[in-house]
């Protein structure tokens, strides 16, 4: 498809909206149009009603949507933010070149054009990607959005000193001039080697290495346009110039902010955002337990972090069928696991590692994270079920009750020459109670076959840079096991696997999340994936990498994370999309 005219895009938007309302009519969950009964809407819900379809669909505009956050935003600046929830939320006030479709379930995993007219057009070698902007795009002040603004915005993301939080993909992958340090420190530098803008509507990205999944990087907030004249560096987050349907009304950093409709946002240029509420309010630093109670009472609508209920509320919500009906158990693209380091004796022997995997009490691991609803599904491999390419397999069956296969474990211990077991250490992050529980559960489970674990808590701030992620420290301190976790930046095999299985990310100085996987075959397969444009063809490759890592028994999978989300009372058009793994904030509306 080439150069889709604007009209077509509008038509497409209309179809989507119609589709949603039609779905509501037939889905059985439809509410009467005039119904202002908040409680009625909540009562009609059922558990997981918003997981794969739209709950309470609506196209009705108006109302105030209220979010709460137990913590603080890392930053509202598109160059300086790296949370799943901030990337979800930022789409309300910013438009990137492309975006994840706002749709329930797996459909939400597809990338669709946003500022651009179509997805990126790669060159044959996948080293050059071209996007064409739609016509008639405007900022909140009415000035036009141009390709230069996108170029400027991306160049800002290179400056990691001014913006320490954001992702480094663009800075790492584009062909920046040598020693380029962003628009503030390298003022006036010519960056055409990385990004070119032949005219106001065309932007060309030039990569150092081929990458067929560039659209995933283009959907990140880094490509949301920033007008150079309005940029105030670190202070830009106090007033981000909106390109989306909402703009900031009042912004008190650290306390909260409110947003109102952006009068210069034109729905005709934006087929993806229904923009239902008139107003959005966000409170920061709300006590987590208090927040759960207020969600249940209807005082606020959404826990913006999408982390799900606290341990305290979990028991209350799950034991009351009425409360449970108002929740959704979202599947995350996150694996909680334990690294088994082959650099630590006797785990250099594959049979000793297999013994560890067989002796693991998987149900105990699941309990440590909070059980099947708030913890997650017992993992048997690396790739979570919602990542394309997922294949279910289990190389180390743990028996009918999932508590481990002790006979097999002993068998492998004998093969490994340690029939009575051995001693090693398990590292975990001291500030994380769930990781402590995991370490204790593994200590119990492995103790059954004589593998004695000693618990080693480390501060989470330096966990990877100084301790569990530093190869020399691991060897010297015999950290045979280290509790770990990983979530992908985007729902793609490469995005999920590369950082935790590519041995080349392990640096002697420490700092990598991969602490145990060093398999040459896997490195080769990762490279192979970079030049394959067809996502379908890549799927078997991801599964193959997954299996290869499991064969080596260097990762002990724990759970594929899930979160128990409270569906706020009075929300309309609610759904969890696979790309966000929480309620899709672009779609949400409120009943009035």
């Amino acid at each position: 498809m080439k150069r889709k005219p604007t009209l077509a895009a509008v038509a497409l938007g209309a179809v989507i909206t119609l589709g949603l309302s039609a779905c509501g009519g037939g889905g059985g969950g439809g509410t009467t149009s005039g119904g202002g009964d908040n409680q009625g809407a909540a009562a009609k819900g059922e558990f997981n009603a918003a997981l794969t379809k739209v709950f309470n669909p609506s196209t009705k505009k108006g109302g105030t949507l209220k979010f709460a956050n137990p913590g603080e935003w890392d930053s509202l600046d598109p160059a300086d933010t790296y949370y799943a929830y901030t990337w979800n939320f930022i789409r309300l006030y910013g438009r990137a070149l492309v975006m994840f479709k706002s749709a329930p379930g797996p459909d939400g995993n597809t990338v669709v054009p946003d500022l651009a007219e179509s997805l990126g057009k790669p060159s044959k070698d996948f080293k050059t990607w071209t996007y064409t902007l739609r016509k008639g795009l405007k900022y909140e002040d009415g000035s036009p959005i141009t390709a230069k603004d996108v170029k400027y915005a991306v160049s800002r993301t290179v400056d990691r000193e001014t913006f320490p939080n954001g992702p480094t993909y663009m800075g790492d992958m584009l062909n920046w001039p040598k020693d380029y340090k962003g628009p503030y420190k390298s003022k006036g530098a010519n960056i055409d080697s990385a990004i070119e803008t032949p005219d106001d509507h065309t932007i060309v990205f030039k990569l150092k290495q081929p990458y067929s999944g560039f659209d995933y990087l283009a959907q990140m907030p880094g490509t949301m346009p920033v007008p150079e004249g309005k940029d105030t560096g670190t202070k830009y987050q106090e007033h981000v110039i909106s390109s989306g349907p909402y703009m900031f009304e009042k912004n008190e950093i650290g306390k909260g902010f409110s947003m109102v409709r952006n009068p210069n946002w034109d729905a005709a240029t934006d087929p993806n955002r229904p923009a239902l509420p008139d107003r959005i309010e966000v409170q920061l630093k709300v006590n987590a337990d208090d927040m759960d109670n207020r969600l249940l009472s209807g005082d606020i609508h959404v826990d913006v972090t999408g982390n799900g209920v606290s341990s305290a509320a979990q028991g209350r919500v799950l034991s009351d069928p009425n409360l449970k009906a108002g929740t959704d158990n979202a599947v995350m693209q996150r694996l909680w696991y334990t690294s088994v380091s082959p650099t630590v004796k006797p785990l250099d022997n594959i049979d000793c590692r297999k013994a560890v995997l067989y002796a693991t009490d998987r149900a105990g691991y699941q309990s440590a994270y909070g059980g099947e609803f708030t913890g997650g599904e017992i993992a048997t491999g690396l790739l979570p079920p919602t990542v394309p390419g997922f294949e279910r397999f289990d190389l180390y069956p743990a028996g009918p009750d999932n508590t481990g296969d002790l006979n097999k474990a002993k068998e492998h211990l004998t093969k490994c020459g340690q029939p009575n077991g051995f001693e090693t250490n398990i590292a975990y992050r001291a500030e994380r109670p769930k990781e402590k529980q995991t370490a204790e559960a593994l200590q119990q489970a492995l103790g059954r076959v004589g593998i004695k674990l000693t618990l080693k808590p480390y501060p989470q701030g330096d966990y990877f840079s100084l301790y569990a992620g530093k190869p020399s420290y691991v060897v010297e301190n015999k950290l045979g096991l280290s509790v770990n976790g990983w979530g992908s930046d985007y729902p793609d095999g490469y995005g999920f696997l590369q950082q935790i299985v590519d041995s080349r990310v392990i640096r002697p100085g420490g700092g990598s999340s991969n602490v145990s996987v060093r398999i040459p075959d896997v490195d080769k397969m990762i490279d192979q994936s970079l030049t394959e444009p067809d996502a379908e063809k890549l799927k078997p490759l991801w599964a193959q990498i997954d299996k290869r890592v499991m064969e080596e028994a260097v990762i002990l999978p724990g759970v594929w994370a899930k979160a128990l989300l409270i569906r706020g009372k009075g929300l309309t058009n609610v759904y969890v999309s696979d790309s966000q793994q929480m309620y899709d904030y672009v779609g949400l509306g409120v009943q009035q």
Binding site: G315, G371, Q437, A441, L455
Partner: protein, 331 residues
């Protein structure tokens, strides 16, 4: 309590009704200080109750394995069948309290709270006693030296005390406990953590005792019996060990008893903050820290909380009673 206890002389038993034997017509016998104090203490019901609890707790700590064998389960063993897999909360009413699990079980992993509270007493009391001993030894030695020697020695020690008293102990304790590696000085594991905590808690509490001892020594040093000993040619060690120390025993005992509950609280605070003894070894403070996330399962916090409360209260009651008994004039 500024004056020493006069032990000699026939007047003391005259203390109203001090000895029940006094009126019985039996020949009056001279009694030692400890006998008198014990008689007074026995009449103080509150203090005796405190003492009874203290003795009970010590017995619990000493015989923890036996008690757990009889009434509980191994403290580290997980009993996940006792926990609802969905909500992660113990099955049954009141956190799974039953004849099998006397105090119920922990959420998530189902460990026996009774056994963990019993074993927690070991760590708490051990650390509190050893830390107190350390404070008392350092405090007494420096206090006596400062008070007895006077002059520049006194100045230096007193200033050192001021410095230590002004020191932000908690902050330092957290930093030190966090920095010390897993193996140091040939120790490792729980032994290292316990020694570390004893050192931190004991080493920073000595000035409280030292100040009191110094004051006592200053006033004792000028007393007639010390002058008498000196004029008879007694040397310094003799005066310190024979004349001063026996008279200092009362304040030392009293403050040691009152320091123990403070130290128990301090240890609990450090464990609560995650710098105490490493998990999974049970400690009361550590259990409380775990329980915070489960305020909907109150029994998890109540039992270790009660244990701390009861222990501190018992030691305080006993300590107060002891002070009254040893030094009635201070009442």
């Amino acid at each position: 309590m500024t004056a020493p206890l006069d032990v000699s002389g026939p007047h003391l038993p005259g203390d109203e009704g001090a000895g029940p034997s006094a009126g019985a017509g039996v020949a009056i016998q001279g009694r030692s200080l400890s006998q008198i104090a014990w008689a007074r203490l026995k009449r103080d019901r509150v203090a005796m109750a405190g003492l009874a609890i203290v003795v009970f707790l010590i017995l619990v700590a000493v015989f923890a394995p036996l008690i757990v064998n009889l009434f509980g389960h191994p403290p580290l063993q997980h009993y996940r069948n006792m926990v609802d897999p969905t909500t992660q909360v113990p099955k049954g009413a009141f956190g799974g309290i039953s004849t099998d699990f006397l105090f119920g079980v922990e959420p998530q992993n189902g460990r026996d709270i009774f056994s963990r509270v019993v074993y927690g007493a070991r760590i708490s009391l051990l650390i509190a006693f050893l830390a107190t001993l350390l404070s008392v030894v350092i405090g007494t030695v420096l206090g006596v030296v400062a008070g007895f020697a006077g002059g520049w020695v006194d100045t230096i020690i007193s200033r050192a005390m001021d410095v230590f008293l002004a020191f932000p102990i908690l902050v330092f304790a957290i930093a030190l406990a966090g920095v010390v590696p897993d193996e140091a000085l040939g120790l490792s594991g729980d032994t290292l953590r316990v020694s570390l905590l004893v050192f931190i808690i004991g080493f920073f509490n000595w000035p409280y005792i030292a100040r009191i001892i110094r004051g006592q020594t200053l006033s004792l040093r000028e007393r007639e019996f010390v002058d008498a000993a000196r004029s008879l040619g007694a040397r310094r060690p003799y005066i310190i060990f024979r004349e001063l120390l026996p008279n200092l025993m009362a304040p030392i005992l009293i403050y040691a008893t009152l320091l123990i509950p403070t130290n128990i609280l301090f240890e609990a605070a450090l464990s609560f903050l995650g710098v105490g003894v490493r998990p999974p070894t049970p400690t009361w403070g550590g259990m409380l820290a775990d329980a915070v996330r489960y305020y909907t399962v109150p029994h998890f916090a109540i039992f270790p909380g009660l244990a701390i409360f009861l222990t501190v209260l018992a030691f305080n009651l006993f300590g107060d009673g002891l002070r009254d008994a040893l030094d009635p004039r201070a009442r």
